[in-house]
Each structure stands twice: as C-alpha cells, then as structure tokens.
C-alpha cells in the first residue's frame, strides 16, 4: 500500500442478492477534496455509505490512517473521524436547529468542544444563528442543507463524506456551502469526498475525481484532466 490517508481497496457491496458496487478502489489524502461523479444509480451513494460504515461491504477493505475499518456500524467510523453527511439531509424535523447541531457532537472530544464548534458554524452560516431555536423542519431546503453539513461538522470529522449536497437546492446556496467546505479543507486539513450528479459543479469544487458507471470506477484523474476528457464532456457536461 502506498499509504494514503484514506485508502479504499476493491470494495464490493451487495444489497441482498444484487451487487451494486464492483471492486471500487480509490484514495484521498489529507486536506484533499475528491469527487465521485456519475449518473443516477451508478453506485456513488453506496460507495460513501460503505466508506462511512452505514452499509456493510462484502469484500475489500477500507483503511484509514493505517487502521483497518469494518462496516455495519456507523459509530465506529465516526469515532475514527469518518462522518457522512447523508443524502436528503436526514435532519430531525421536530427538533430545533440547535438541538440538531448538538446531536452531531457524539464523541467525548466533540462534546467537549461543542460550544467552540457551534460558534464556528454560526460564523460560517449567520442564518443558522438567527434560526437556532426554530424547528429544523420549518427551514428552507438550503438552510436545511447548511444544518446537515454543520451537524456533520459537529462530530469533528477528519474525513467528511457529502452525499448529493446539491440535490434540490438553488445553485447559489450550493456554491456557498462548497466555498465554506473548501476553505475548511484547505485551512484545517479536512478531507472531503463528495458525491454529485452535477458533474461540472463537483469537479470545480474538487481536486480530483472518479467517474462511476454501473457500479465500476471507469475513469479517474485530476479535476482539470476530467474536465478536458472528451468522453466526460460528451456524457456529463453536455458538449
């Protein structure tokens, strides 16, 4: 092994009898932003669910910071610093914004730094401070995505997995969240793996990318390389 920060080696995932991910291998270094792009049903979400422990892998390995992680238990991955910001936000609608954030701080360390992290979050998203006592379910989609992102940040992640953060949101809000995420990645060395259907946006945000097709990683490269790739241009960028 070449010793990357996060190293995913030939993972396979099955839902019942149906295999959805074949021998997916990729890596991410500290502070790096990596995009997983591809069309609907290509296996992108499954990949991040497997890397965050939400679904079990049937074979292959996830090695983070030299440690081998086994799937099927989210909490263990979170304790190692791998946190998933799930697709569709999955907030607690009848709890306040503040309570949603609090819940994100689950490890002892995260709980001890709760107040500081919340102060940071309110600096990034002043809107959330205004709405901290409002039920999360009453927020707009964009604000909910901010809460979801912030709730994940409350756990003090070393690797943040973002699953379809742009789904159903206005473009300028997505840009905002990406801008802040990028700043945190570059300043604090947070590694981000982002899953996106909006290929152009994802590659602009990321340093490197992988293209998934039908459960197999088909192309990989730096964002610039991928943006210049003729096949990708045709299939995903529309020219």
């Amino acid at each position: 092994m070449s010793g990357h920060y996060l190293e995913v080696d030939k993972i396979n995932v099955k839902y019942g009898d149906i295999q959805v991910l074949w021998d997916a291998s990729f890596y991410a270094d500290k502070g790096e932003i990596v995009a997983l792009v591809g069309s609907n049903g290509a296996g992108k979400s499954t990949t991040v669910k497997a890397v965050s422990g939400l679904v079990k892998i049937s074979s292959g390995s996830v090695v983070f910071d030299g440690q081998h992680l086994e799937g099927g238990n989210c909490r263990k991955f979170i304790d190692h610093g791998i946190i998933l910001c799930p697709e569709g936000r999955q907030l607690f609608p009848n709890m306040t914004v503040y309570e949603n954030l609090e819940t994100g701080a689950c490890s002892k360390e995260a709980e001890a730094k709760k107040k500081e992290t919340i102060a940071d979050i309110f600096k990034w998203f002043p809107k959330l401070e205004e709405r901290k006592n409002q039920m999360a379910g009453t927020l707009s989609g964009g604000e909910q995505q901010m809460v979801a992102f912030s709730r994940s940040m409350m756990g003090l992640p070393k690797v943040l997995l973002m699953d379809e953060p742009s789904l159903g949101l206005a473009p300028n809000i997505v840009d905002d969240i990406f801008r802040i995420a990028k700043k945190i990645a570059k300043e604090n060395g947070l590694t981000i793996i982002v899953v996106e259907q909006d290929v152009r946006k994802a590659l602009k945000f990321a340093d490197r990318g992988y293209v998934l097709e039908n459960g197999v990683i088909s192309i990989s490269g730096t964002s610039d390389e991928l943006m210049g790739n003729e096949e990708i241009k045709k299939a995903y960028l529309g020219f």
Binding site: D79, L84, F92, M95, T103, G104, S107, G155
Partner: protein, 290 residues
C-alpha cells in the same frame, strides 16, 4: 342532585383515565422510536402489578413505596426483552414479525402468571386503603387521588427527560429520523433498549398505582391493553399529548357512561364511541386530504 353524580363520575373518570393515559403514552413512545406496535403493553402492566403484589406479600411494602423498585425492575425486564427478542426480530421491510412476537409474548406472560399465581384475585393494601376525602360534597378515594398525582408527576418527568437530557434528545432524534440518528453516531440499538425499558417502567408505575386500589389477575392486562390502544387511536398514534387527553377522555367516558346507562353497558358504550370516532376521524382526514 343528578349533576352532583355527574361531577363525581367525571372526577372518578379522570383518575381512572390517568392509568389509561400513562399506558397509552408508553405505547406511543415505543411506537414513535421503533415504529413497532407493542401488543404486550397491557401484560407489562400485569407483570408490574404482580411485582407490586410480591413486594407487598413478602416484604410488606406499601404499593406506593414500592413504585421506585417496581419501575427499576420493569425497566430491566423491558430492556432485556428488547435486546434479546425484539431487536433481533425487527426486519427493515415490514413489522409483522414483531407484531406476532409482542402478541405471543403477551399471551405467554399472562399464562405464566396463571401458572404461578392461579386465577385468584390478589390485592395489596396501601396505607391509604379505603380512605376517602370529601371535597364540596364529592367523595374522592385517597389511593386514587395519590395514584393520580403520582401519574401526573411521572408524566411530567418523562416530558422533561425527553426535552432536556441527552438520552431524551437521542430518543427524539431516533424517532424522527433513524438514518439521521445513525450518521450522527447515536447508538440506535441502545436507544431502543432504553426506550422499551422506559416504556415498561412507565407501565410499572401505572401498575403499582393501580394495585393500591385494584386487584391483579392474569388477564388484567387485556382490559388495559385494549384501552391503551383506544387511547392512542383517539389521540393519534405518535402524539404524546393526544394520548394523555385520550386517556382522560376515555376514563371520563367510562365512569359517566356507567352512571348514565349502568355499569353493565359501560364497555358497550366505550367501544361504540370508539367505532364512531374511528369513522369520523377517517372522514375528517379524507376531507382534509381533499
């Protein structure tokens, strides 16, 4: 004088209703978190009544004093059932499994009680047994009054626990979004065990209070189990306040009903009103949906 009877009946109804409300609330909590309908909640009440009876019979403990012990015993019993039986049989695609499981567990528990205690009625006298206070011409049984007060306190404690403690927040989070709970690192299986345990403990508190003026027999859970389903259906499955109001409403309906039409027709009246409520509710919901 008839209005005097009515007020008396209403007061009695509220006190009986406190038990229904509490059992309904525990049912609701378990449903909210695990999305399972717990068909043995009535039997949990029965078990806790026997626990109270045993504490009274062998240690001479007053049912009211025994409440903390009964609550702890029931909590452990509930958490044990949850971790050993229920968590293992929850399937992601449908809950028939758990439905049958809790149903059978109820039958099992009442038959074990029948074996151990026979079908005789057992009682445990409290220090307030047979005492009555008279307020403005109304006679109020002291055990019922004390019991009702304890039920109110228990309800308030559950509310505060859910609102302010970390466990309470985790319970609410898990009930509102199980996936969200998992990705924030909440140990959902632990939350399930606690929730079921608390549900059983609440039934335990209700059981100990009930024991101070009522008697226990193996199928006592039937009556209260069915009642608690009526309560949550009236109040809306998942709504805690609905369950409280539903419980009090049902209690009042029973006692006022038996004053008006006679005790023999009490159940007929209750179920008639229940059926009417179901039909009306469905109609209202359909209109709301447009």
């Amino acid at each position: 004088m008839i209005s005097g009877f009515l007020i008396q009946a209403i007061i009695n109804g509220i006190m009986v209703g406190g038990i229904y409300a509490l059992v309904g609330m525990s049912l609701n909590m378990i449903f909210g978190v695990m999305k399972i309908v717990n068909f043995c909640q009535g039997e949990m009440l029965m078990v806790s009544m026997y626990v109270t009876y045993l504490l009274y019979e062998y240690l001479g403990l007053d049912p009211f004093i025994a409440i903390p012990i009964v609550a702890v015993v029931m909590f452990l019993f509930g958490a044990l059932i949850q971790t050993t039986l229920i968590t293992r049989s929850i399937k992601e695609d449908g809950d028939q499994n758990v439905l049958f499981l809790t149903c059978c567990l109820g039958i099992f528990l009442s038959n074990v009680a029948l074996m151990l205690f026979t079908s005789d009625y057992k009682t445990a006298d409290s220090m307030f047994a047979n005492q009555v206070v008279t307020v403005a011409g109304m006679n109020i049984s002291v055990p019922r009054l004390v019991g009702f007060f304890i039920l109110c306190v228990a309800t308030a404690l559950v509310f505060l626990m859910l609102k302010y403690t970390k466990l309470g927040k985790h319970i609410r989070a898990t009930s509102q979004n199980a996936i969200g709970a998992q990705v924030t690192g909440i140990k959902t299986k632990v939350v399930y065990a606690y929730t079921y345990g608390i549900g059983a403990a609440i039934a335990g508190i209700a059981g100990a209070c009930l024991m101070s003026y009522y008697y226990v027999f193996p199928s006592v859970g039937n009556t209260y189990g069915t009642r608690s389903f009526i309560v949550v259906t009236m109040g809306g499955l998942g709504s805690t306040i609905g369950a409280c109001l539903g419980g009090l409403g049902l209690g009042v309906m029973e006692t006022v009903g038996s004053t008006l039409v006679g005790a023999a027709f009490k159940d007929t009246l209750v179920f008639l009103v229940f059926i009417l409520i179901l039909v009306l509710k469905e109609n209202i919901n359909r209109k709301k949906r447009g």
